[in-house]
Structures are given as C-alpha cells and as structure tokens.
Amino acid sequence: MEKIITVGLGEYAVSQDPDEILVAYGLGSCVGIGMYDQRINLAGLLHALLPIHPMGSADQQSRYVDTGIKLLMDEMARKGADRSRLIVRMAGGANMLVAPGFTGSFNIGTRNIEAAYSTLYSLKMSIAGKEVGGTTGRTVKFYVKDGRMTIRSIGNQEREV
C-alpha cells in the first residue's frame, strides 16, 4: 500500500520503505532534488527554497539549495548510501513572475537551478533526469521502490523525468 510522505518547504526526507513516495507539492521557484541509491533502495528528496545559504547565518540549511544538497547527501551516506552510486533527478525552478517591472531581482527560479548545477558539479555528481525552468508550478513525486521521479503541473499529464 502506497504511503505519501510530504516534504514541506525547506525540508528533506529520506526513506528505505518501498511503499513510500516522497512528495513535494506545488513547487514554483523552489527546486526538488531527489537522490537514489539503487543497491540499498534508499531515496531522499530535498525541497529547497533559495539558492545560496548566507555566510554565517543560523538559518535552516535545508531551505537553501547548496547546503540542502550537502545535508541530504550526508544523511543518505549515514544510512549507507555510496556517493558514486547515487542517481540524481531534479525538478522545479520556475520563474513564476513573468511581468513587466518584475524582471531581474525575481529570477529566483533560475538562480536555484544554477545553484543546484554548481553544487552537484562540485560534488562530482551528474543529473540523470530533470525538468526545470519554465513558468509553471510542479508537484514532484519520488518513488522509494525504484527511484522514479514524476512531475505534475496544471493542465498537463503526469510525466516521468
């Protein structure tokens, strides 16, 4: 029986229960980053809000793409994952506010994607599948049993990345 585990704003979750599906609902400019170790069926999903953790800030690290990815990876490693086996998928990073007068400072979605690319690159991790950018929100499901990631957006059918 499938069980939904909601991964809220600025949170992450890790699971080894094949019945569980990690879900981040309604990602706009936020990004969802999933990691999967097939050998031990361990899955983790991060729902990050902003690109770079401010230096010296006591703010929760999982809210930021750069520190959130490292937190998630450390947690996966603690549970037995091997970095070389991790499959990474990501979605989100839309630029929701496409209107005159709102360009420039509002491109948080793009900055989130760039932060994810550079953090993963520095950790020598590649991305197996992604659906990022655009201007629409997405719900992301990450299946613990096989590491599949599916995306739903309004007016479109659910699809796999």
């Binding site: 704003l9 309604g26 506010l97 496409v98 709102f102 739903r152």
Partner: protein, 202 residues
C-alpha cells in the same frame, strides 16, 4: 520567546490591526466599485504563520488559484496579494465585465488584464487608507497575475521576502459577497524593515 519579543509582537499586533481595519475596509470599497457589487470584508486577522504551513492555506498546495501580486515600495515596504480560487476568479471577471456568472471559462489576456486592474485598485485603496491613518506614504508596483498551484504562487512571497525567518507576518482578510465567504483572500506581508520602523515610531 523572550518578554521583549513578546512585547514587540503585542505592540506590533495592535498597530497592524488598526492599520489593517481602515486599509482593508477601503480596499473592499475599491473592489466593490470595480466589480459593481457591494462586497463586505471579514474582520482582518493579523497572524504570524509558520513558513511551512503557508502552502496549506486555501485548500492546499496543489489547489489551482489566481494570485494578483503587487510589491509595495516607499515608507512602507512589503508585498500584497489577492488570492482567489480559480473558479471564483472566473466569477469575478464575469462581475467586472457585467456578464452572467459562468460566462468566463478561461483567463485570456483581457480577463487577466481585468484581474490586474482589480489588484491595482484594491492595493491602491489599501495603501491610501494606510497613508491617511499613519501618514506613511508608499506606492504599489504594477500588478502581476499568476495562475497556478497555490504552493507555486506562494513561492513568490517567500522567495522575495527580505529576510527568511521561521514565520511570516501576515495580515489576512476575506472578501464576501451576499454574506458568503471565500471570494478572495487579501494578504499583506510587510518587509522586516517596515515592521521595525513602525514599532520605533510609537
């Protein structure tokens, strides 16, 4: 929480309630003029809402909604958003265009433009009343209309807040038509600097 921050919260709360009451009543007047029907407004609430709970407002993060978003700049800085469930937004367009309810089926450029104007008017009426009450002047940006999942719309507010804290201070009111609730939520999220300035003025 310390005593001083409790006191800060209480002072701020009463200040915002006074400001909200006048502002939101005036905003309802602006919105009524626009839609051509008498809209009333529920007692405005001033709340601190934990960030992680925000997407669960208004029917959950996947519910389809329309957000009409404005930035506020000047002596008061912050964000304003009219949030309307999608079917209710279609009804509002019908009212503004003086056609029978149920006529508008999708939001094209004309319909979005009408909603922008609605946000513009509501926001301006709010800020005018706030200026009259507090002497603080500010102006709204051009409005942006977002049609998407609630969770995705709300990312805008969180991602553009000047400082991320555990909670967001939100001033919330519901507009009502014929005594029935839930036509629109009106949120005002003052920037942190604005909040501090307002308390220091006292």
């Amino acid at each position: 929480m310390t005593n001083s921050s409790q006191q800060f919260d209480e002072e701020l709360h009463s200040l915002l309630v006074v400001m909200a009451k006048e502002g939101i009543l005036n905003a309802a007047k602006g919105m009524s003029d626009m839609v051509g029907e008498q809209l009333t407004v529920s007692q405005p609430l001033v709340k601190r809402i934990p960030i992680r709970e925000i997407p669960n407002l208004l029917g959950g993060p996947e519910a389809e909604a329309v957000g009409i978003y404005l930035r506020v700049e000047g002596q008061i800085g912050g964000q304003m958003m009219l949030v309307v469930p999608y079917p209710k937004a279609l009804d509002l367009v019908d009212l503004m265009m003086s056609v029978p309810i149920g006529t508008t089926q999708t939001l094209g450029s004309i319909e979005r433009s009408a909603l922008q104007e609605l946000g513009n008017l509501t926001g301006s009426f709010f800020l005018n009343a706030v200026a009259a009450t507090t002497g603080l002047n500010s102006r709204p940006s051009p409005p942006a209309v977002l049609v998407d999942m609630i969770g995705a719309i709300i990312d805008i507010i969180l991602a553009t807040s000047d400082t991320l804290s555990e909670t967001v201070l939100m001033l919330q009111a519901k507009f009502m038509r014929d005594g029935r609730e839930a036509d629109a939520d009106f949120w005002i999220i003052p920037d942190r600097n604005t909040i501090e300035n307002m308390v220091n003025r006292e």
